[in-house]
């Protein structure tokens, strides 16, 4: 075996396929029975299917789509570009779409000044974001320098940055939603917004798209691509440890005791998961290990899927939108502060998608699925997440009910995944920090163990379904093999 890929998530599949396409003999080991990891479509009630975690793709690398010919392997999009709809309690919902003029007209209902500022802001953000592509999409070529504005943004916080451009809470909160991984008061938080603007879906900058059949369809296309490239796919293969000799990876050992030998191991592990392995513990320095142990994420997200027996009505807004529920930018500030303290935020910030609006096959005729992402939430809640599961869902539904009256009556089934559930299923994530966003790819992919590469979502600047970490990790592994 020339390479082993541990973990069959999107990045694992991408890495394995790239290696196999370069003529390497590759085995992919997935502990669970299904491939795809957190990118999956689940049947959560009889006849109802919904996205397990990610409900919209925003960061999938277009080069992965093209090079692995995913369109030919069945990846189709139900929605290519979802407009963002900021739901307001007063019913003056704000639609932010690709059409700058139409968006500005909508903003004018909240503030004339903001309507004027919008085209300028969008151009500024998109230009800056495009300038960052060499850094976030790939390893920048020699001689490429960070744009000077980025150095300024590292010191500025999102709240101040937006305050200097907009006056209405509606616009500021809607924009801040895309950077909710960090508190808007943290210096450098605007960089998350720039990172989001740097992404491209279906040829459109900063778009959010939904694959036909849910996120699972992307995994199916990637699996097909892996099979064509003759990757050996093994599910139910739980890796117990990485084998290391003289500071270099020599293979892995499965929980069954089986040893697989390979010179290169690509693992979809976060740094904290690497530290939990015996090999990682012995390879990482004491300073690095203790720093990792200290940086346990305090903030996480939850996911709620609702089955509805009628179409939800968001006050006449287009139902194919990405609905945001956050009153003002302070909602994120207080939610982050509460989460860090281990308390349930008083006001939840929600991102809601109705997958069935564009893809009716996901639910029985005339019925709908509502997918809700709640973030930020405490990773460790005082009193534990088990007891808070039902209250969390009730709180989210109640918040939604205010903007979509009657919705609660139509809920027939629900699935709630708390931050605890998500961590148990998919492993503990690394903390989102400005340092991580601004670190270069080798520092996130390479490990102190020679021949061991990290290729999972934790190696991305911001955790997302993108496939980029897998693509770049594979390139590193191939480059090392060529030496």
């Amino acid at each position: 075996m020339s390479a082993i890929v541990v973990g069959g998530g999107v990045n694992g599949l991408v890495a394995a396929t790239y290696l196999a396409r370069a003529g390497r003999k590759v085995v992919l080991l997935e502990a669970k029975d299904a491939l795809g990891g957190a990118c999956a479509t689940t049947t959560f009630a009889t006849g109802f299917k919904g996205p397990t975690i990610a409900h919209a793709l925003t960061a999938l690398d277009p080069r992965v789509v093209a090079e692995l010919k995913l369109a030919r392997r069945g990846l189709k999009f139900a929605v290519r570009d979802m407009p963002t709809v900021a739901l307001r309690a007063d019913g003056k919902h704000l639609v932010i779409g690709r059409d700058v003029r139409a968006t500005a007209r909508g903003i004018a209902a909240h503030s004339r000044a903001d309507a004027e500022a919008w085209p300028r802001f969008r151009r500024e953000l998109f230009d800056l974001a495009r300038a960052m592509r060499p850094f976030w999409w790939d390893e920048p070529k020699r001689g490429w320098n960070l744009p000077p504005t980025i150095a300024t943004l590292r010191r500025q916080n999102l709240a101040a940055w937006l305050d200097s451009r907009f006056e209405s809470d509606a616009v500021k909160a809607a924009v801040a939603c895309d950077a909710s991984g960090l508190s808007p008061l943290v210096p450098g938080s605007p960089l998350l917004l720039v990172w989001r603007g740097c992404q491209e879906m279906c040829g459109l900058q900063s778009a959010a798209a939904i694959p036909l059949g849910g996120p699972g369809a992307l995994v199916d296309a990637l699996t097909a691509a892996a099979k064509v490239a003759s990757v050996e796919l093994r599910t139910g293969a739980h890796v117990a440890d990485i084998l290391v000799k003289d500071g270099a990876a020599t293979g892995v050992v499965l929980e069954s005791g089986e040893e697989i030998v390979a010179k290169r191991v690509l693992a979809s592990l976060s740094h904290s998961q690497l530290l939990a392995t015996k090999a990682g513990r012995s390879a990482l320095g004491i300073g690095e290990s203790t720093a990792l142990e200290r940086s346990v994420p305090a903030v996480a997200s939850a996911k709620v899927l609702l089955a509805l027996n009628a179409a939800p009505n968001f006050g006449g807004s287009p139902s194919r939108g990405r609905f945001l529920l956050a009153d003002k930018i302070e909602t994120f500030v207080t939610a982050h502060a509460a989460s860090r303290a281990g308390c349930m935020p008083e006001e939840l910030a929600l991102e809601v998608v109705v997958p069935t609006a564009a893809d009716p096959a996901l639910a029985p005729m005339g019925q709908h699925v509502v997918s809700i992402r709640i973030a930020p939430l405490p990773r460790h809640l005082a009193g534990g997440w088990d007891a808070a599961k039902a209250p969390l869902a009730a709180k989210a539904i109640a918040a939604l009910e205010r903007c979509a009256p009657g919705l609660a009556r139509h809920v027939t089934a629900a699935q709630v995944l708390t931050p605890d559930d998500i961590a148990k299923r998919y492993g503990e994530e690394d903390e989102v920090t400005v340092e991580r966003v601004m670190s270069d790819w080798p520092s996130r992919i390479l490990t102190p163990i020679k021949g061991l590469f990290l290729c999972g979502a934790a190696s991305e600047p911001v955790g997302a379904v993108s496939g980029r970490a897998g693509r770049i990790a594979a390139a590193h592994a191939l480059r090392e093999a060529a030496k």
């Binding site: 003289d246 500071g247 513990r281 012995s282 390879a283 320095g285 004491i286 300073g287 690095e288 290990s289 203790t290 720093a291 142990e293 102190p448």
Partner: protein, 376 residues
């Protein structure tokens, strides 16, 4: 862990009585006699007769747990796993970037316990590193420690009915006429150390002092013991160099401090190994001795060769044994050969406020060799 209160040692009553000039220093939060009468005389006594020195200030911590060997493999620059109980080794611990965090003796007390004795404390780093291995740290600084150093140290011990058959770096727990003590040979000056419970401090001091009476035993203060360190060519943390305090620090380099012999590159897993291997060839400085052509010590002063700065001195003292000022120095590899003539500027003083230059000669370390020393 932090104790803001300055503590006295178990020997304080005797030290206070012997301290004729009432000069005290604080080291690691402990009050110690700087000198009892004259530091130079005390340093000479350690060369010619025998002295006792209070070394209770040394940071001592017991590391205990079933996985202590695994932990120390990660922490320490040499392999402690082959040590038998009763044996010990001298080693470093490094930051991830290869900077020296500390140097000390790791003594195996039992299957699952090691004692670390070092001259500068680093409790936070070691406690945090030990936690994932369930290794517990037990503070041993309540105990008193007395070093017995000098040519007649062995005779003094014999007169005190203590065993003297210990090899350098060995230690032994024993019952000494009714009190429990630990006798060790961890020191760099060829002597012995005796460790006792706090309440037995005065008794131990008196017994040793009486046994050494006929050999001219006298107490030596911290200043005299530091002179011995310098004459032995040992760079000490927090006196000669600032130890690495950042987890990723790449300095101070073990190569530039002459501590390379305390690193076993065959030992695979210790923290900082990769960075050390990557940087050791590139390190431009080496540790050397400097004999200054003057009676005035010149600590932390640039050293010049034909007007170009080629290094700097570390601690510097007037050595009573060599009868001249000496210094440890970090010098470029190119001018590091013994016999190289350099110049330095002496520090201005009340008597001579003008800046004076003096010539200085590079010397191989140590300045003075002592039999049975464990110095690198």
């Amino acid at each position: 862990m932090k104790k803001p209160v300055v503590r006295a040692t178990p020997f304080h009553a005797r030290a206070a009585a012997a301290n004729l000039e009432n000069t005290w220093v604080t080291r690691n939060g402990i009050t110690l006699a700087s000198s009892y009468a004259d530091a130079n005389d005390e340093a000479l006594a350690a060369r010619l007769r025998v002295v006792i020195a209070d070394i209770s200030w040394r940071w001592r911590v017991m590391l205990e747990g079933p996985r202590v060997v695994e932990f120390l493999a990660k922490l320490v620059t040499r392999d402690v796993s082959k040590l038998a109980p009763g044996a010990s080794l001298k080693a470093l611990w490094l930051a991830d970037g290869g900077g020296v965090r500390g140097a000390g003796v790791f003594a195996r007390y039992g299957r699952e316990s090691f004692l670390l004795a070092a001259s500068a404390p680093d409790p936070d780093w070691i406690a945090e590193a030990a936690a994932p291995y369930d290794v517990k740290l037990r503070d041993m600084n309540e105990e008193g420690g007395l070093a017995i150093v000098g040519p007649t140290a062995q005779a003094t011990l014999q007169a005190a009915q203590l065993p003297v058959d210990l090899e350098p770096l060995a230690f032994r727990k024993l019952s000494w006429r009714g009190i429990e003590v630990t006798l060790s040979r961890f020191g760099e000056h060829g002597g012995f150390e005796i460790w006792c419970a706090p309440d037995d401090g005065v008794l131990v001091w008196d017994r040793i002092a009486r046994a050494g009476e006929s050999f001219g035993l006298e107490p030596a203060g911290v200043a005299a013991m530091d002179m011995l360190d310098l004459e032995a060519g040992i760079a000490r943390p927090e006196r000669d160099y600032e130890p690495a305090r950042d987890g990723t620090a790449s300095g101070p380099s073990p190569v530039a401090l002459g501590l390379e012999s305390l690193i076993d590159v065959e030992h695979q897993v210790f923290s900082g190994r990769a960075a050390y291997l990557a940087s050791r060839e590139k390190e431009p400085k080496r540790l050397a001795g400097i004999e200054i052509d003057s009676d005035t010590p010149a600590p932390f002063t640039p050293l010049l060769l034909k007007g170009r700065v080629v290094g700097h001195t570390l601690r510097s003292v007037w050595s009573p044994a060599l009868r001249r000022a000496i210094a440890l120095a970090q010098i470029d590899v190119s001018c590091f050969a013994p016999g190289t003539k350099l110049t330095l500027t002496l520090p201005p003083s009340l008597a001579v406020p003008e800046l004076r230059t003096a010539s200085a000669c590079v010397t191989a370390l140590p300045f003075l060799k002592v039999p049975d020393s464990i110095a690198p």
